[in-house]
């Protein structure tokens, strides 16, 4: 994986352990290491690994919080797969992931290319474009979105100019999901910044050489920029799609806590929340959560597998 830098560990250890000599020094390093890590180890055991095992168990039980969990085997999963609302939530989520992620990344890359050119005011633009990534998750912006996309508000009126009247996106089951997509795309700042950092690392000599060979801008982009930033592109695709699978707050707030109308914004986690915390069906919700884990793991695996084909890593550079 790109983000895991090879740990330059061993020589340092040997040298620092030298005065204490051999085995005792190594043991002291181990003790120190685990002492320093103890918050994380406790957190990992109590808040990550333990809960994972527990939820795996709950997934095979009927559990309403008040009576002890009752083992039901695969019941939750068979009910889930046949549940039309679950199917709907899968459909809504996939649609959201497939539409929002590429559009967001395309915009992020486009703007990053724009900002990679040296112009005055560049830093100001960069900061302004990044801001939505920080406030976009807030309930405040959810409300603003409701207002902007409601009947007779700005988006609706702009559409009417073009002869399209849908009565606002919020109330319209065919459109409301795209209000969420728009909110996601609006937060293109974070991937943009990562693209920008990647673009800055492309050696300029490559462009100069290509230009001398008579390569036009499009060709330079396709043959130099894209391969050179492909590790960063991979990172963004991975992170953004995983995040998109887990969207919750915006769906909940923008669609007025109902994830509707007509379940039109019933994203996966919204249904999980309803099942777990509104209906106290903890077993069913855990089964849903594990299905999500498997789905995300599959997507991650496919992306990692595919990177051999399109991600270009500089071998033995430096």
């Amino acid at each position: 994986m790109t983000l895991v830098k090879e740990a330059p560990a061993r020589p340092a250890k040997k040298r620092s352990a030298a005065p204490a000599a051999g085995r005792r020094g190594r043991r002291r390093e181990n003790i120190a290491g685990y002492l320093f890590m103890s918050p994380w180890i406790a957190g990992f055991l109590v808040l990550t690994a333990g809960p994972m095992i527990a939820s795996l168990y709950y997934a095979f039980t009927r559990y309403n919080l008040f009576t002890p969990p009752e083992w039901v085997g695969l019941d939750n999963f068979t009910t889930m797969f046949q549940d039309p609302r679950w199917q709907k939530s899968v459909e809504v989520t996939l649609k959201y992931v497939v539409v929002a992620t590429p559009l967001k990344l395309l915009l992020a890359l486009g703007v990053a290319l724009l900002l990679a050119q040296k112009r005055s005011g560049q830093g100001l633009y960069r900061a302004a474009f990044y801001m939505p990534s920080l406030i976009g998750a807030s309930v405040s912006v959810g409300f603003v979105w409701r207002a902007l996309f409601s009947d007779d508000a700005i988006v609706d009126r702009t559409q009417k100019v073009f002869g399209l009247d849908v009565g606002g996106w919020i109330g319209n089951p065919d459109y409301v999901l795209y209000a969420l997509v728009a909110l996601s795309i609006w937060q293109f700042g974070a991937p943009m910044v990562i693209f920008l950092a990647g673009l800055k690392q492309v050696p300029q000599e490559l462009y100069e050489a290509a230009e001398m060979d008579g390569a036009g801008p499009l060709r330079r982009f396709w043959n130099i920029t894209l391969p050179m930033i492909s590790p960063v592109l991979f990172f963004n695709v991975l992170l953004e799609s995983i995040h998109a699978f887990q969207v919750f707050g915006s769906a909940y707030v923008v669609s007025n806590t109902q994830c509707g109308p007509a379940d039109a914004t019933l994203v996966y986690t919204c249904y999980l929340y309803q099942k777990g915390f509104k209906e106290a069906q903890m077993g069913f919700a855990s089964a849903m959560a594990w299905t999500l884990v498997v789905a995300v793991a599959l997507v991650t695996a496919v992306l990692f597998w595919s990177q051999k084909k399109w991600v270009h890593y500089e071998e033995a550079a430096k």
């Binding site: 790109t2 390093e29 990992f44 709950y58 990044y130 903890m282």
Partner: protein, 291 residues
């Protein structure tokens, strides 16, 4: 990070360069207008009478009114707005302290101590970055319920004190690995133990990464919605996010103005922090994609 020193393509005719520059600014301004529209809209809307907020498409109010903000003074169903802000501040403050302490300790171990099993644990930690949070949601809730900690701050901040936010640990590890190794080795040879090295040498030098993590943590906690939604039940313990939701439930469309005004007020700390520290935040984000 190496910034390019040579300018890419310098056209010979300065006229053409100017056209290019103008085109660039027109493009950037167009994106900027769309991006900032919602922010400016909420600013303008907070000064509009309630009935105009949706209907008027003007960015700025025809005649600014203060009623929306003075309406906030009444609070939400008997609870003062300041209660929500204080709760959010407590949450965010504790989260910052927790993340900075626990993540920097963990990061020091990963970056500077050669203990057995380090690489395996590092991989595990990175793996938690990709794990959907929702699989932990239900068992954590069950656990905190059994411990009778629901409706307190504990479930919200426990993870911050236990370095579960892998992103920040990762950020600090990256940063600490970038520090010259000679420094801490010299300290070790001078007889400093790991704790001394961590506290007097590594921590001060890691300050940019610590500030980045602190600000991100503050903003995330301030914006957090799902955590408070699940764990907080009593309105006077609500954070700003939940207070806003309650506002919507209680007042509905009739008091749209005050709702928008409070939305704006709720955004102020985030935007202020962002303006003050945007360099750190942007560089921090950029680092996460590289290396």
């Amino acid at each position: 990070m190496t910034s390019a020193t040579s300018t890419p393509v310098v056209r010979s005719a300065s006229g053409r360069r100017r056209t290019g520059s103008i085109a660039w600014h027109v493009g950037a301004l167009a994106v900027l207008a769309v991006v900032l529209y919602p922010v400016i809209w909420v600013l303008g809307a907070s000064f509009k009478p309630s009935k105009d907020i949706i209907a008027s498409i003007d960015l700025l109010p025809a005649k600014p009114v203060w009623a929306n903000f003075s309406g906030l003074a009444d609070g939400i169903s008997g609870i003062s707005i300041s209660t929500f802000f204080l709760n959010s501040l407590t949450y965010a403050g504790l989260a910052v302290v927790g993340v900075v302490i626990s993540s920097s300790l963990t990061a020091y171990a990963f970056a500077k101590i050669g203990f057995a099993g380090r690489n395996l644990l590092f991989t595990l930690m990175i793996g938690t970055l990709l794990l959907p949070y929702h699989v932990l949601l239900i068992p954590q809730y069950v656990m905190f319920r059994k411990l009778e900690l629901v409706d307190t701050m504990v479930p919200l901040v426990a993870g911050k004190f236990l370095a579960t936010e892998a992103f920040f640990v990762f950020l600090m590890v990256q940063f600490m690995r970038g520090l010259p190794r000679e420094l801490d080795e010299a300290a070790r040879l001078d007889g400093c133990g790991h704790f001394r090295t961590y506290w007097s040498i590594v921590l001060p030098l890691t300050r940019p990464a610590l500030i980045t993590s602190a600000i991100f943590t503050f903003i995330n906690a301030w914006n957090d919605f799902m955590g408070p939604l699940i764990y907080l039940n009593t309105p006077d313990k609500y954070t700003v996010s939940l207070g806003l939701m309650m506002f919507r439930d209680q007042e509905g469309i009739s008091n749209y103005g005050s709702m928008i005004a409070m939305s704006l007020v709720a955004l102020v700390p985030v935007i202020a922090f962002f303006m003050a520290f945007q360099r750190y935040l942007i560089d921090g984000m950029a680092t996460s994609g590289l290396k």
